[in-house]
């Protein structure tokens, strides 16, 4: 390979790209996180002598440390529940002849791209104090346990995290060879026992990745506890409150809390990666697992299970879409049909424009940079490349609110003064989504090997042009599906947006949240429905026209 042995000082195309990639991570990741760290140690007021004062306060004052305990406990419970529900769901859909499988998959993908916290207010509409279902049950003489507080948070976290578990377990099952299961059965195990003793250990790494995603997402979500949590205090919502406090906020405390959250999430990521390294077994898949025939009774049971879980997971979305066409009175939704909500949502057009524009710009940047950096990570060697590889893992574990605050501190004020601009949102979207683009290109390049590029260089085409004329066409499928996914995930991005938006850069998720907090649930549903539609477009394109299935989502 041409790259090996070249010194970093020589100016060739790929060395420039490598240095540029490093610069991007330093500017948009290392620098903001360092500023966050500094900010957490330089809070004014109080004694002011000890740099660690905020931290000491955090771990000694119950008001603060209980948020961490709550967050860890709730996220852990949601992770366990989502795994227990989601893994059998994926197994049933992958292995059994469930009627309407395509619909089931589509619905799960839909819940995957729906914005966080949407479930929270949808469940309030359904089973809150004045909820529809609450009303029906009350008429029958039943009373539901209250959905507010920790119960509601766990419910929402669990259901909104199901798709992670489903997608990863499905992907894991695709890597297991049928003969492994056959061998277990041939040795005397029933299919259920074979699934537990052989299949489960083999998909454990995928399961662990899914669980990590659930855990980190739950830790990072502050919209949900703010809407449904009532007085249940969690770390992410505490960070948000400290930062955006009406009375100026307290960046030092917010930064310190952010760093504590960062340590937890990065710790979880490192622990998970170490665990996966120990528990993954190289497998080759000649014949993937085939569907199994079931007795009619067992099939009915499996079908009922799948539909019950999928229904619960998709109910919030359905609620939002339906209620957007109903007349609302504050937090109450009547059963009167109207399109008035769409006309009344005065900030909808500008929020829609902002969302589409920001998502498009950030997606283009992400995909272009992802292609170049993905190439560097796979094809080049050296210490700089190893650093890039490590940096590109970090954003996975940085909660949106933490990244938002870090970018706000680093670029919001002097010397850059980007606060409230489009640029600052593009920066945060770019750095948060870049790793996914890098990974999808790297995955594809890893499979196709460097021979075609080497042939091109050997024929006299310089590396830069070889990349454009040989590599880019080869990874085009990964680029296009990566772009569509990136678009969908940026459009629904809330946690970092809400830290960094201004009046002129308000996006759809922010608008939904604002309406919910104001108690105007009807307008929230209208904006939410438009947001769902926006996220849906790329997913439909992906499935219908690129013939992909949900496996591209992981």
């Amino acid at each position: 390979m041409t790259a090996r042995g070249s010194t970093p000082l020589r100016i060739d195309f790929w060395n420039v790209v490598t240095l540029a990639a490093l610069a991007v991570f330093v500017l948009f990741l290392v620098y903001p996180l360092s500023r966050l760290l500094i900010s957490s140690m330089t809070g004014e007021g109080g004694g002011g002598s000890a740099v660690l004062r905020t931290y000491v306060e955090f771990f000694t004052r119950r008001y603060y440390y209980e948020t961490l305990i709550h967050s860890l406990a709730v996220s852990a419970i949601a992770t366990v529940l989502a795994t227990l529900l989601g893994a059998p769901l994926a197994y049933c859909v992958a292995r059994f002849d469930i009627p309407g499988k395509l619909l089931v998959r589509a619905v799960i993908v839909l819940t995957f791209v729906s914005p966080p916290f949407i479930g929270a207010y949808a469940w309030i509409l359904l089973i809150g104090r004045n909820g529809v279902i609450t009303g029906w049950l009350a008429a029958l003489g039943f009373e539901l346990p209250p959905v507010y507080g920790v119960n509601g948070i766990v419910l929402v976290f669990t259901l909104q995290a199901l798709p992670f578990v489903f997608l990863l377990v499905s992907a894991g099952l695709r890597t297991v060879d049928q003969s492994i299961e056959d061998a277990a059965i041939n040795l005397g195990r029933r299919p259920a026992s074979a699934a537990l003793t052989v299949l489960a250990p083999l998909i454990a790494p995928s399961l662990a990745t899914g669980a990590l995603l659930v855990f980190v997402t739950s830790l990072s979500d502050f919209g949900t506890p703010m809407i449904i949590g009532e007085n249940y205090r969690m770390l992410a919502s505490q960070i948000y409150t400290e930062f955006v406090n009406e009375h100026g906020g307290n960046p030092a405390v917010a930064s310190a809390l952010s760093l504590i959250l960062l340590v937890v999430t990065v710790g979880a990521l490192l622990w998970q990666r170490a665990w996966v390294r120990r528990h993954s077994h190289g497998q080759e898949t000649v014949r993937p697992l085939a569907p199994r025939a079931l007795s009619p009774l067992a099939r009915a049971g499996a079908t009922a299970y799948v539909y019950a879980v999928v229904l619960a997971a998709s109910l919030p979305l359905a609620t939002i879409v339906v209620s957007s066409f109903l007349k609302g009175k504050g937090p109450l939704i009547t059963s009167e049909f109207t399109l008035q909500g769409y006309a009344n949502a005065i900030r909808l057009p500008s929020a829609l424009y902002n969302t589409v524009m920001l998502s498009t710009v950030s997606t283009v940047l992400c995909v272009a940079a992802g292609a170049l950096v993905g190439y560097v990570v796979v094809r080049r060697r050296g210490r700089l490349v190893a650093m890039i590889d490590t940096f590109s893992m970090v954003p996975y574990a940085v909660a949106g609110v933490v990244m938002g605050i870090a970018i706000a501190i680093a670029y919001g004020g002097a010397p850059f003064h980007l606060g409230g601009t489009v640029a600052i949102l593009v920066i945060v979207y770019f750095i948060r989504r870049l790793p996914y683009s890098i990974r999808s290109v790297a995955g594809m390049l890893g499979q196709i090997g460097p021979q075609a590029e080497e042939a091109s260089v050997n024929l006299g085409v310089p590396p830069g042009r070889t990349f454009l004329r040989v590599t880019v066409p080869m990874v085009m499928p990964a680029l296009v599906s990566g772009a569509l996914l990136t678009f969908a995930t940026i459009a629904r991005e809330f946690n970092s947006t809400v830290i960094l938006y201004s009046g002129s850069t308000r996006t759809l998720p922010v608008e939904v949240f604002a309406q919910v907090l104001q108690g105007d649930f009807a307008t929230a549903s209208v904006v939410g429905t438009v947001l769902i539609a926006v996220s849906l477009v790329p997913i439909v394109l992906l499935f219908r026209f690129l013939q992909k299935d949900e496996s591209v989502l992981v």
Partner: protein, 371 residues
């Protein structure tokens, strides 16, 4: 190893077994009687239905017709996990998350064999396949040959009534394949366990088997000892598949007994091998190593073919000649390198003779020869 304690080895009987996948008939009315303790091989080209038939015996495919018996009892309604067969898969299907001991002991747990007894059984079985001392190794730390031994031990440890092997040696390199093949044969003899073995490698089938069933297109064409199927193939397809051969079209005539076959180029050959009584349109076949080659200037006599030597390929002890005798295909001949005939030049005119006893005839309607 002496008494097979739980279950004694058992014969396998297939009566009219068919397996369909939608419109594809993967196995077409197979009938076989495999005796207890026999080493029985299903041999045939890729896609002929060998694996499907083996998996039907293991219970992984429900046949669409016919009955399978193990030890005389129909097993059609017995699920795969209770069939008590030990299967060795082509791609090993080793459990990558379990060490060697865990793999071998896996089937014992479901049979209620635990603790010290299981431990002893694992040790005993690993000793059989020469893997003692590797109990703690993970599969990733084993060579291909060792992994294959582990899965054989895993299948044997449960003392199944029948051992089913699907191309167990196909993924190994040539030397190792021969060594493991011999080990396997000895082990099977020692245990006396009924073994159904699938391969598309005819040499492997000939070396290992007590009997062979030659399959093609889902059908069983011939069942017989290795000598039978090699020397007395029952059909052109069998002859084609087993060993190399020259197959030529012709018309058989003559009185009773041996036939005189007129080939398409006008040459005549005597056929006194299998099928000698056929008359009319026939396929005539003989093996390259049965051909004697000499330089010839004059036109051919009766019972001879003449042609031009098109290519000479040296391979150590043998020389292979491809000779153009005016047929659609070249005729192949293997000649000892050291013999006088071993040094002929390309372009030379040569005469070929084949001992009549080595010339086989097959009915002429089998048109679709694919050599």
């Amino acid at each position: 190893m002496t008494a097979r304690s739980e279950s004694t080895t058992a014969g396998v009987d297939l009566a009219d077994v068919s397996v369909r996948f939608g419109d594809v008939v993967a196995v077409d009315r197979a009938t076989l009687a495999i005796a207890g303790g026999e080493f029985f091989t299903l041999l045939g080209p890729s896609g002929c239905g060998k694996t499907t038939l083996l998996r039907a015996v293991a219970g992984f495919h429900r046949q669409s017709g016919g009955t399978i018996r193990i030890g005389g009892t129909p097993v059609d309604d017995v699920p795969a996990w209770r069939r008590d067969t030990g299967m060795v898969f082509q791609n090993y299907a080793i459990f990558p998350h379990l060490d060697v001991r865990g793999n071998v002991a896996y089937g014992l747990a479901s049979r209620g064999v635990k603790g010290a007894e299981a431990e002893a059984r694992v040790a005993e079985t690993l000793a059989m396949v020469d893997l003692d001392g590797l109990e703690e190794r993970m599969p990733a730390q084993l060579s291909g040959g060792q992994q294959q031994r582990v899965v054989i031990a895993r299948a044997l440890a449960v003392r199944p009534r029948v051992l089913l092997m699907d191309e167990p040696l196909a993924n190994l390199d040539a030397k190792l394949r021969v060594r493991l093949r011999n080990d396997l044969r000895q082990l099977q003899r020692r245990l006396g366990i009924t073994t159904v073995y699938v391969t598309h490698d005819q040499e492997e089938a000939l070396c290992l088997s007590d009997r062979i069933a030659v399959m093609s297109g889902g059908r069983i064409l011939q069942v017989g000892t290795p000598e039978d199927v090699y020397a007395r193939p029952a059909a052109l397809r069998v002859a084609e598949f087993i060993g190399e051969g020259n197959f030529l079209r012709g018309t058989a005539g003559g009185a009773d007994g041996a036939a005189e076959v007129t080939l398409r180029n006008g040459a005549r050959l005597h056929a006194a091998g299998p099928g000698e009584r056929l008359r009319g349109e026939v396929w005539l076949g003989f093996r390259p190593q049965d051909v004697a080659v000499r330089a010839a200037d004059a036109a051919s006599g009766r019972g001879e073919l003449t042609g031009t030597l098109r290519s000479r390929t040296y391979s150590g002890a043998q020389v292979r000649y491809d000779i153009d005798c005016g047929f659609e295909r070249l005729v192949a001949a293997h000649v000892p390198s050291a013999s006088a005939a071993g040094s002929l030049r390309e372009g030379a005119t040569v005469a070929l003779t084949v001992p009549p006893a080595q010339v086989m005839l097959f009915p002429g309607q089998d048109e679709d020869v694919e050599l």
